[in-house]
Amino acid sequence: MDLLRFITAGSVDDGKSTLIGRLLYDSKSILIDQLETLEAQSKNKENGEIDLALLTDGLRAAREQGITIDVAYKYFSTPKRKFIIADAPGHIQYTRNLVTGASTANLMVVLIDARQGVIEQTRRHSIVASLLGIPHIVVAVNKMDLAGFDKSTFEHIVADYEAMAQSLGLKDVQYIPMSALRGDNVVEESASMPWYKGPSLLAYLEDINISSDVNYDKFRFVVQYVIRPQTEALHDFRGYAGLVLSGSVKKGDAVQLYPGRLTATVQRIISGFDDVNEAGPREAVTLTLTEDIDLSRGDLITSGSELPHEETEFDALLCWMDSRELAAGNKYLLQHNSRVTRSVIREVQYRLDVNSLEKIPLPDSVKLNDVVRVRIKTQQPLAFDNFSDLRANGCAILIDETSHVTVGACLLQQN
């Protein structure tokens, strides 16, 4: 059994919460007492039926307003897969939440109301998916019951979306007509749409191949912590505990260390309590080196034909997440993997309109939820890959130096 993380993007009116509720309900992930609470709450609403949307609104503030105000994580599993849903609000004000939820996703479910078709919001969600390099998209054409389960309505929406997907470079897109409210094509196949021959949403999520989402070629290992037991038996042990961001490593491999680009040899690979011969992407292991070299937290161990950039000045696409505006010349802490360094925004080159992809030159100010292209200078050199080539080593966050709040998400780019 493996793990698929997906994000659902849609507005209050698209039936996003109902869709998630339906997935949980029909896959039998809702337990009796939760159901009782749900029934009790549903009675406060007008119709007598269970309101599946209530399953997803955890916080009182969200429930009282009847909207989703923050990313909520939901879990369910089938015999084939464990699923983690990031339920992100779709409203324009919440681009930052969409970006947050999308950052860890293998797949985005884009909800479209069959009666409305592709709207500005659909475009925005898809642009975010494209910017963040989400490998797979499912376009869920919902509320087909309100569109008479009409085949041509669905086909029009598919054609519209297909044109947009091509312009955005979205490659793996699946279209599913459904009614989350009635359960058509969510878990069970629909009897009302015999013209649709494809899988239900759950069947698709269970079977989609996600093994190629991970990069197996470029070895990148971030040192998080140096293990030095300094006991008699382990007097000289110096283990670099960290995470394989991408690629793989074998015992005896020659590796390049950053900063400094020194060369070294991997002596041991320790996984848990055991020595192993190799480690691959996403494994948390401890490496030792044959050479007597002193690495510290934040350093990078790499190999492969293409090595990372090592720069103190580079470009980034920045999603601004703070209510206080960004201004060129401001200083922030920049965190890239386990490295934190001071940085300054040298220049704001343009703002990217997330509804049209239009580049608006030299914006006066950068506000919450804006996406801008910036030039960043850091105090220490950063060993990174372009986000578009290697998500795992191409992302960073900006942290306000005084409030310590996370204010920006950076997709790094060196031309």
């Binding site: 793990l3 609470t37 997803t56 939901k74 879990y75 948390a284 966050i397």
Partner: protein, 300 residues
Amino acid sequence: MKTMNHLQLLEAEAIHIMREVAGQFERPCLLFSGGKDSITLVHLARKAFFTGKIPFPLVHIDTGHNFPEALRFRDELAQATGARLIVRNVGDTIREKRLQEQRGKFASRNALQSYTLLDTIAEFEFDACIGGARRDEEKARAKERIFSVRDEFGTWDPKRQRPELWNIYNGKINKGENVRVFPISNWTELDVWNYIQAENVALPSIYFAHERQVIEHQGQLIAVSEFIQLDAHDAILTRQVRYRTVGDMTCTAAVESEAASLDEVIREIMATRISERGETRIDDRISEAAMEDRKKNGYF
């Protein structure tokens, strides 16, 4: 190249988070309750820092109402891992601060734990506290970050959470603040059990079926102990039970079970249609928003 299964992925994520804590903070600790989730945390921490010892202390906020089996287990575990164990007693806080204890049949010190916890954080100047909470436990937890910043009152403000992107954890804090860290946020109850089985993690005996004297209260089985008040009409029954969660004897209910091994426990859980909190935590029944309110007041 081998592929990782869901438990291996969850484990790697949790170990990555533990190492971020050790790397980012000066005085972290692991909040140890004696339950299976925090026992899992200790196991993960051992793996994360092997060949070294766990580089932070285990902190137990002892309500004085614990199962003796869980306390014995705690001491043995601390000894086996070589980790420093810090115990602070809610009873002491109640005396020193002249706090009002709950009265009644199942007078619980659950809510009073927060006072002792905050005092302990201040005493040792802990800047990060690792806890075993999971997002699937309760709806209010579903939106909590893995690194969750608390002010000096321990308050969690759901509206002022930091965005948490990719696997980059921002642990920068101001003086007086601390971070609660939840490495197994993305695990479900079943994931924890399956992991315990796959890794052969030892658990206190009360997680497995045993005979115990209980009373039945509103459909739940509560262990007879010196901490609950028995009324004249309470019938003391002897039942074969096990616990799904281990909290205080006053507010943790047992389930009837024959499951004496991990395999059998997991089989029972997979067949159960009642969630963990609903089945075994008496206090959560009080209100839907009970957890949210307690968390705002500095609860774990």
